[in-house]
Amino acid sequence: MDRNGVTLKTINRTATSNRLRAPSIKLLLLWLAPLAFLALFYFFPLGSILQVSFARSESGLIAPIQQALASPAFRDVLWFTFWQASLSTFLTLAIGLPGAYLFARYQFPGKSTLRAMSGIAFVLPTLVVAAAFNALLGPQGLVNASLMSVFGLEQPPIMFTHTLYAILLAHVFYNTTIVLRLVGDFWSHLDPKLGQAAQVLGANRWRTLWHVTLPLLSPAIASAAVLTFIFTFTSFGVILVLGGPQFSTLETEIYYQTVSLFNLPLAATLALIQLACTLALTIVYTRLANRLSRPLNLRPVEFTQRRLTAWRQRILAGAYILLLLMLILTPLFALAFRSVSRFERTSTTTARQGYGRPEWGGFTLDYYRELNINRRESLFYAPPTTTIAISLLYASVTVALALLLGTPAAWALARNRESILNRSLDPLLMLPLGTSAVTLGLGFIVALDRPPLDLRASPLLIPLAHTLVAFPFVIRSLTPSLHSISPRVRQAASVMGASPSKVFRHIDLPLVGRALLVAAAFAFTISMGEFGATALIARPEYPTIPIAIYRLITRPGMMNYGQALALSTILMLVTGFGMLAIERFRIADVGEF
């Protein structure tokens, strides 16, 4: 069997090296549309940011960056950006690593559900998560309202929103799944015999962990850490809504400078600094991801996993699972529950401050009904139900665009992985992933507002931005399944008498069809929940759901709050179903971005 494997490999190698010499015209044609898209809507906007930043100063290219760095206020922002990202990363690892061990080495009922759930948390729109933590622990949230009602308090006893804790908790909520998946998957294929060999040679548990297991896991842990760091470094909605105005990171600062102060040159400089940081981090991440392919004797999980048998293990595992469930589910349940509960104020003295002792007033659908009513009669105010329609429309266009552009690129990638063209273009496609959403939005503002490309008024602007964000995910979910259709499978089918059309119907379509479904679900879910870029480029009269949630949640008043939660619940359900569809239909693991 081994010998066959070797010959197959050598055959493949000669075949690919033949293909290496001739980068076919077909391949170039496939790349045409995706590359044109990236050039127009990614590189051109980024170039414009560069231009705007440098146009600000005649005293050289570095001057604007030096000026920004010289300002103490900006240094505070930069420091806080790194500080919160480091803390978040550390906490995420602390929560995630025991879970990675549990997922890697043990089988237990409900494991795949738990895994899927943590994955859904990762892709929930930031506004939903912010609203969910607000519904749980905010001043009008369930916990505070209950405590006030039970103990007769006039003020919410727990100050959670607008603290660093809120930011950190939300970041842990989001990114735990990265550690669970990246480290857990790697760990689950690590040969347990390596650890056993160390034990037999006289190493106790801790020395085995320190000398053998951790060094072997280190590339996986490091890449999970870097990825978490990148995501929290560019986190936007969480900082904006849960942190509030007193916390400012590079990302929120770019937003304030653009939207509130309209200081585009400074925003552009900040975006440049942020880009430089994320680029450096992405390079580190790619290096680490490559090291994951260290020649380890990786084992199928049947060899590495066992059941939880000892009672001590069961109790520890149970406690951890409970913690994870609480972290993920409590805020989401609180959101849904709070969106259908009425709390009536027995407000007497403190009504002015917006608080008052709340009393449980039973279940209500008032907040949902209110979504359809335009009480303000204002031109710029769209009733929330309209925003749902707008979001659905944008999402449909995004799905169409993303599939139209992503399929040829994925096809080209799957055709020939070794081709120089593909190897150099593949990382290019992933660049939008490492670029913060707000920077993408800013790029659209500075680049696409004048001829030759004036899209300010175009309804396509937002779908284009969403397509850019969804693009890497679409490619990553399509390529593996396109690649899995090896020419041999097609050849086998035609040798057995299948005509080309039958080959397409029975081989290509079933394999690609599911992948297309997954890619579409990704594009749809991302478009529905996207906030960072949309916040900059959405036109006030056509808000998407996340924009509407943000407006409602930042306004005072119980009814606004209730509507924000109702709208968030709707968005949570929509994106949740989208992710369930992805988990259900995907063939290869798309967690490998």
Binding site: D191, K193, Q196, Q199, V200, L201, G202, N204, L216
Partner: protein
């Protein structure tokens, strides 16, 4: 009792019985091979001896002292895994030094010992090599060096040659035997390959489906398999159902290929010896006709006559398949002899006490 005692070990995996009452001893400086088909529980037994698994019942003792509750890293045993489990993030030196480092030996002593062990296994100067670039045979030797370096009081080898190709395996068996003998290493050698077991072991423990089928020297096991399973496992496949007849007159065994005279020493050398001899009359038994203890003899009166189905050349021997009363039998003859042709009718003669073995 010096050395290792395995006492009545039972182990279940989710209600599936992996080990059912395994007992045997390993004396110091003795090499015991545990031989059996894959899935018979050999590796589980090693894991239990090493302390990586806990037995559901039974005990492991060293020099008469129970090891229950002694964790793996304090047992002072060595275990060489089938695919070696070399640490891929450490070079050859650090792999071999690992067990020594765990004893907090001074670095100078570690260097000396690593050098010594690498020389013993025939890899002098390999210290700085990356373990990921070693060939199969080299990796096997490094794994052996790593297990030997901390002077384990017992070395367990779990199919250590299983992943290597045949010619390399044959060479390494003898190297392995020399190394183990040279260091007077007490060892348990697990394998499914009888040739490896016979070449290496002082004693062989034959296992099947979680229990011990037979314990003995390689010669014992091969010449006197104790059960139908043992015979089949050793490749002795000429097994016939038979019945003991006429015990009190001129006793014989009635089989599908004819009547075979029964002598007392045939009974005494088989599992039948434990039975009450007077009750054996009419008993159903299994009869083994050893493939290597018969002659082709066209002149004398035939004991078994059959038609040649095919002859298979196997190097030093030649296997001849003949059909006797619709029963196919296979026999081995030196390939230097002149062999019958396909379709020929030949006569087989044998001395019953040498060629026939009886099982219950």
């Amino acid at each position: 009792m010096p050395g290792l005692s395995i006492i009545n070990i039972h182990k279940y995996f989710a209600k599936i019985r992996a080990l059912a009452g395994i007992s045997f001893n390993v004396q110091t400086s003795e090499i015991v091979a545990v031989l059996g088909p894959s899935g018979c529980g050999k590796s589980t037994l090693l894991n239990i001896i090493a302390g990586l698994e806990l037995p559901d019942q039974g005990d492991i003792e060293w020099d008469g002292k129970s090891l229950a509750g002694v964790p793996t890293h304090q047992r002072g045993f060595g275990l060489m895994f089938q695919d070696f489990a070399l640490f891929p993030h450490k070079d050859v030196f650090e792999n071999v030094a690992f067990g020594l480092r765990m004893t907090n030996l001074p670095l100078e002593d570690i260097r000396v010992r690593v050098k010594e062990v690498l020389e013993l296994v025939g890899l002098p100067g390999f210290e700085a090599r990356d373990v990921n670039t070693l060939s199969g045979g080299e990796a096997q030797r490094v794994a052996l060096a790593r297990s030997l370096s901390p002077h384990p009081r017992l070395l367990m080898l779990d199919e250590p040659l299983g992943s290597l190709d045949r010619s390399l395996r044959e060479r390494l068996v003898f190297d392995l035997r020399d190394i183990l003998n040279h260091s007077q290493q007490t060892a348990i050698y697990v394998t499914h390959d009888q040739e490896e077991a016979f070449a290496l072991a002082d004693r062989v423990v034959l296992m099947n489906a979680g229990h011990v089928e037979q314990i003995g020297s390689p010669q014992d096991i091969y010449h006197r398999p104790a059960s139908v399973f043992a015979a089949r496992f050793l490749g002795l496949n000429n097994l016939l159902a038979g019945k003991i007849c006429n015990l009190h007159g001129e006793p014989f065994i009635s089989t599908s290929i004819g009547e075979i005279p029964l002598t007392l020493d045939m009974i005494e050398h088989s599992a039948l010896a434990k039975q009450d001899i007077s009750k054996l009359d009419g008993k159903d038994i299994m009869v083994l006709l050893r493939p290597d203890a018969v002659q082709i003899n066209q002149n004398s009166n035939c004991q078994v006559k059959g038609r040649v189905l095919e002859t298979t050349f196997r190097g030093s021997t030649c296997q001849v398949a003949i059909q006797v009363n619709h029963v196919p039998l296979r026999f081995d003859f030196p390939s230097s002899e002149e062999l019958p042709h396909k379709g020929e009718i030949i006569c087989i003669t044998f001395t019953p006490s040498r060629a026939i073995q009886l099982f219950l």
